[in-house]
């Protein structure tokens, strides 16, 4: 190419030219250009309603009323209703805690079944061998799963991609095999029988323990979801590389979220073990525990605060009805429902209500 062409390209002055002076240029920006790089269609922007900022208070009032209602429920309802409510609370615990790591950061965990089983066995064995009071056994079960999460999470969460999901899938199976093989401690495949709780007041302690755990995980979800820590988890979900380049220590944030997330299935497993009075490896390390947590969050809306709660209530009640109609078709209908939700409601019920403009876009939801 000729030198004259080069001169056209490299038009320059001997010293850098002055930059445009003056304040911000008043020329209005184009409203929307077609070349925006993000492919996902978004809903149009609408100003947040005035009551959005009062959602924190609304939560406090609703949570207080619902909690009081759930406290007095056993005195007004039969054992079946209480047991069903305990199952709903268990599902909320599992889904909301799964949501803390997977919904907020996008790192899908298949390890909740593993934590549930490990917590169940930790709590059950501490009770069986009469090591500590049952309430302390529940707490220790949660601390055990948190410790395991930190050990597993530190190497796997440093990496991006599918490593974490694969490792967590392996955790459940590994834990099941260890528990099955370690017969001298766990009684292997025969399972562990816990003292039967004959008195209703004794039996209800499990219900109240699950209620306390549920209220705690809901409050924690709200605290995380509306905090800057929560925003940083969302930034990992959106673009981890950019988050890291902007100074966010993504490994530390993921690890913290994972540790918080793993505590609740551990305690829930221990409570549920005491509730059922018998545990065995196949039932308590079944992958369905992870799938239910995932399906519940997806149905309600992963990455939201309310989504897993709504999903848990809907899914548990629907499951109960389907089971009552046809126990054989239960799993097929359950699976079909999940497929339909993923295909037609990818954001879950919360996103559907937002699309219908019944709910505002808000981190508080």
């Amino acid at each position: 190419m000729s030198g004259s062409n080069a001169g056209d390209v490299f038009r320059l002055s001997s010293t850098p030219a002055p930059m445009p002076q003056g304040g911000v240029i008043e020329t209005p920006l184009p409203e929307r250009e077609s070349d925006a790089p993000f492919g996902t269609p978004q809903q149009a922007s609408k100003p947040l309603p005035a009551w959005e900022h009062r959602l924190g208070w609304a939560y406090t009032v609703v949570l207080a009323v619902v909690t009081i209602g759930l406290i007095i429920l056993p005195s007004r309802a039969n054992d079946y209703s209480v047991s069903l409510t305990l199952t709903v609370l268990l599902t909320i615990c599992m889904a909301s805690s799964w949501n803390l790591i997977s919904g907020f950061t996008g790192y899908v965990s298949f390890g909740h079944a593993g934590f549930f089983g490990i917590g169940a066995y930790t709590g059950a064995l501490l009770i069986y061998y009469d090591v500590v009071h049952w309430a302390l056994a529940m707490l220790l079960a949660g601390l055990m799963t948190t410790a395991i999460a930190l050990v597993i999470g530190y190497p796997t969460l440093r990496l991006r991609g599918p490593y974490f999901a694969i490792t967590m899938l392996g955790l459940t199976e590994l834990a099941r095999i260890i528990v099955t093989s370690w017969e001298s401690l766990t009684f292997g495949g025969r399972g562990v029988y816990l003292p039967i709780l004959y008195e209703r007041s004794e039996w209800l302690t499990n219900y109240y323990a699950m209620l306390i755990l549920t209220v705690t995980v809901v409050l924690l979800s709200y605290a995380v979801g509306t905090s800057r820590f929560g925003l940083r988890l969302f930034s990992i979900r959106d673009d981890e590389g950019a988050a890291q380049a902007m100074g966010i220590d993504t490994t530390r944030h993921k690890l913290a979220a994972f540790a918080l997330s793993s505590f609740f299935p551990g305690v829930a497993g221990a409570i549920y073990a005491r509730h059922t009075g018998y545990i065995d490896p196949l039932a308590f390390f079944a992958v369905i525990w992870s799938i239910r947590a995932i399906a519940t969050s997806i149905l309600g809306g992963q990455g939201t605060i309310l989504g897993p709660i709504i999903g848990a209530v809907v899914l548990t009640l629907v499951s109960e009805q389907v089971w009552a109609l046809d126990p054989n078709a239960y799993q097929m209908i359950f699976g079909g429902l999940i497929v339909l939700v993923v295909l037609f409601m990818p954001g879950g019920l919360i996103a559907l209500l937002q699309r219908l403009a019944w709910l505002p876009r808000s981190r508080r939801l």
Binding site: R11, M19, V24, S235, D238, M246
Partner: protein, 240 residues
């Protein structure tokens, strides 16, 4: 353009090489960046500009060589650590957090308390006249608006050196001027800018120094007028 030039370089890149499989992306690259200036990095596509940016910001680890920022070795540091030391960057294609609002995109990376971050975010949005879009999802903003938000997101991390990867690509003239205004503000505040772009007119106009890369090697480094006259640069751009 005013600048506060001191003799000590803010960034020293010494003998840096990087290979991706069979591709030698950078070969023994050495250069220094002076503080308070705009240094442009130019070169044909595939010359190693983005790789150089990625090695400095820790996204890609070097195979050999040293990178020192204010006398701190950063060649094997993590990107978040490098950012906290004071190097900020933008990306060739904007990488905002699409599912977060413009305001959240700023607050999430802010230093100090949450209240301080919120106040700073509001000020910066006012500065670029985007306050009315603060509750808009970043994915819904126009490409130019996203560029502006990415620019001010940099400011939330208080960098002393900013690295801009093709900031003027695909933006309209109005937005181009607004980005240039922002760069001018950074210089006035004593910041150092390293920029790569294919907009030669802008690069020639705004840069105090130019570095020319070709096939992963530095083939020229100096004032724009000298670089322009360098026959190796002409050959790199037009002679092959």
């Amino acid at each position: 353009m005013s600048s506060t030039v001191s003799s000590a370089p803010i960034l020293v890149i010494a003998n840096v090489s990087k290979r991706f499989g069979g591709l030698q992306a950078l070969t023994d690259v050495s250069l220094t960046i002076k503080p308070g200036q705009i240094t442009g990095v130019i070169g044909p596509n595939g010359s190693g500009k983005s790789t150089l940016f990625n090695t400095v910001t820790g996204i890609v680890q070097t195979d050999s060589g040293h990178i020192r920022f204010r006398d701190v070795e950063i060649s094997h540091a993590a990107p978040d650590h490098i950012n906290r030391l004071g190097i900020g960057r933008t990306f060739q294609l904007t990488r905002l957090f699409g599912q977060m609002t413009a305001f959240e995109n700023l607050v999430v990376v802010g230093r100090g308390s949450r209240a301080e971050a919120r106040e700073r975010a509001e000020q910066l949005l006012d500065l670029v006249s985007l306050r009315h879009l603060q509750d808009e999802y970043a994915a819904n903003l126009s490409y130019g608006q996203q560029k502006l938000v990415e620019f001010i997101r940099l400011m939330m991390t208080d960098p002393s050196l900013v690295m801009l990867d093709e900031p003027f690509a695909g933006v309209n003239p109005t937005m181009e001027r607004r980005l240039l205004e922002q760069i001018e503000r950074w210089l006035e505040n004593g910041m150092t800018v390293v920029v790569t772009d294919h907009e030669m007119k802008i690069m020639m106009d705004i840069c105090h120094e130019l570095v020319v890369l070709d096939y992963g090697e530095v083939i020229a480094h100096g004032e724009p007028s000298a670089v322009r006259a360098d026959p190796r640069v002409m050959e790199a751009y037009f002679g092959r």
